[in-house]
Amino acid sequence: MGNENRIINILLKVHIALCLLFIFAPIAGSFVFSLNSDRFPSLPLGEFSTEWYRLIWEDPLVWSGFANTLIVGLTVAVIATALGFGGAYTDFRYNFFGKSFYLALALLPPTIPVVIMGLAMLAFLSRVNLSGTTISVIIAHGVMCSPFAMAIIRLRLSQMDPDLEAASWNMGGNQWQTLRHVIIPFTKPAIFAALFITMAVSFDEFAVAWFVSGLNETLPVKILGFLQGQVSPRINAIGSLAFISSMTLIILAQLLLRNPEEPKS
């Protein structure tokens, strides 16, 4: 390209760097602070210390929060992926009256502010005596995570030769056999990616969980509690561990979605 102005390009690149710095400073900071002895870190930084990690390792509240998060996360991953798969396939294959309504219902949850979702879920679930249980968090996260699963799987389905399904029928496979032997094998990478990503979304979700989990708090809700109390520095340790595990899930999902069979587009 002609018309390149070196100075402007450099300024733009600097701007990007500053933006990235702004975005990642809290993340990097949290990691650094988790290994810092200071309760209220400042410059100059205090000594290296793994005290906070030791504290959370020994804190039964943290462990119970972690256990709840894990149970919820695994269950939600399976439920949301299953629901999302059904929705994605329905969108892929069928046209029907009210399809727009169906899709809106399926995909809108991420656009509703979490405070409102939390309140609505709390009111509804208490009314049916389901509030304050792990199940209530699972239900709420099922609503919030299935759009992600649906989007991921739908994307993968759009990459499929539409004749593949018809070919399977033509070869004598009925719809169930075709689902089992063609659709699912083809979308397998997306299914796994959906499992990982819905799990990651559930892991980090604190607001709605805070509303509905009552005493069965998930880890993010515990963090919220820590923020309000005086035990704040552990947050960094928890946060860093959570970050590493979420990143692992995301990287695995990315690798899965990069299908080695097909040429990269």
Binding site: N170, G172, F186
Partner: protein
């Protein structure tokens, strides 16, 4: 040259389309398709895109249901019968091979769907892999194969259940020219060897005419003509088919009256001509009639030779193999095609703009039955 399949005297056709109509909303994709396909026949359905040929094939496969009418397969009415319950395997234009399965697994697929045991599956698939000469690729992923090899896999996959009918949807359209010709031979031989019915959809006239016993020509949902390639070529039914064939010259005329015992006097743009009674059994004065004369049957004379015919000037020439196609333009702007050998052409010494007289023997006219009246 293939023998025409005589449909009279057959107890029952293998496939029967009975007044089949297919509508998608307001759009009519197939209009009153009514024809039969014989056992062991190679039938081609030909037309340009959007003419309804693929829809017709898909209805036979069970991928679409007719809006009206009935389809019979081997004597049984199959409307509404799901495609997986029929044995009408199809070879897709995109081949639709399963990318997550090996070649062997692709070929075995139809048997697996029908619950055939592992050992028997493998044996039957091996037989077809060998028949299509792709045994060496058995364990490869299909992405590693060339276009022609993938074609063979698609064929093996479709034929592994030893069906009585095979459907093909423009299977050769994605191949290179030289591969196309080779695969045409492979398919034609395969069909003869297996003796099963082939229903072959294509937009290519050369493919249809070279491989098929009979051809169905479709346009905009309508069947324009069904017949052997030779019948169609010699006696196209209407203007559409004549234009589709491309090598005939089409003239519109009006009946003036009888001409002798065995002809009709016709007036047309270039003057008058005589159509034999064999082409037009009954006609009234003033009736419009459309007739064609093929390019090969056109004769050229120089002006001043006293020959009666159409005056035209040479617009261009095109050489195809050992013959030349001369394009002429009449004073009214109609294009006339004349096919001559090189020798004949050189004798006339023509160049662009040369004036000639075009004429033909009246027995070389063919009236289009579909345009008369």
């Amino acid at each position: 040259m293939k023998e025409a399949i005589d449909m009279t005297g057959q107890p029952e056709a293998f496939v029967k389309f009975e007044n089949v109509v297919k509508r998608f909303g307001n759009f009519v994709a197939v209009e009153k398709a009514d024809f039969e396909i014989g056992r062991g026949e190679f039938l081609a359905i030909m037309g340009s895109s959007g003419c309804g040929k693929t829809t017709t094939l898909r209805m036979l496969a069970g991928l679409e249901d007719p809006t009206e009418g009935a389809i019979y397969l081997d004597g049984e009415k199959v409307n509404g019968k799901a495609t997986w319950d029929r044995d009408t395997p199809m070879v897709w234009q995109s081949l639709a091979l399963f990318p997550f399965l090996t070649v062997q697994e692709n070929v075995e697929f139809a048997l697996k769907m029908r619950g055939v045991g592992k050992e028997e599956r493998r044996q039957r698939a091996d037989k077809w892999l060998e028949k299509m000469q792709i045994t060496e690729f058995a364990n490869r992923n299909i992405n590693q194969l060339s276009g022609g090899q993938k074609q063979r896999v698609a064929l093996a996959r479709a034929l592994v259940t030893e069906p009585k009918i095979l459907l093909l949807d423009e299977p050769l359209s994605a191949l290179d020219a030289h591969l196309k010709v080779r695969m045409q031979a492979v398919l034609a031989n395969l069909q003869k060897e297996l003796g099963i019915t082939f229903v072959y959809v294509t937009h290519s006239m050369s493919e249809a005419f070279s491989m098929a016993d009979r051809v169905v020509i479709m346009s905009r949902g309508q069947i324009e003509q069904i017949g052997t390639p030779e019948e169609i070529y010699r006696e196209p039914y209407n203007r559409f088919v004549a234009e589709f064939l491309g090598s005939a010259n089409i003239f519109d005329g009006t009946v003036q009256g009888p001409s002798g015992d065995d002809g009709w006097d016709i007036s047309y743009e270039g003057g008058n001509t005589i159509l034999p009674r064999s082409e037009l059994t009954d006609a009234k004065q003033g009736q419009s009639v459309t007739f064609i004369v093929s390019a090969e049957n056109m004769q050229l004379s120089l002006p001043g030779s006293g020959q009666a015919g159409i005056e035209a000037s040479v617009a261009g020439e095109e050489f195809v193999g050992g013959t030349a196609m001369v394009f002429l333009e009449t004073s009214l702007g109609q294009e006339i095609k004349v096919q001559k050998s090189h020798d004949e052409l050189s004798a006339l010494d023509l160049h662009a703009g040369s004036k000639v007289i075009v004429h033909w023997a009246s027995e070389n006219c063919h009236v289009l039955p579909g345009e008369t009246g």
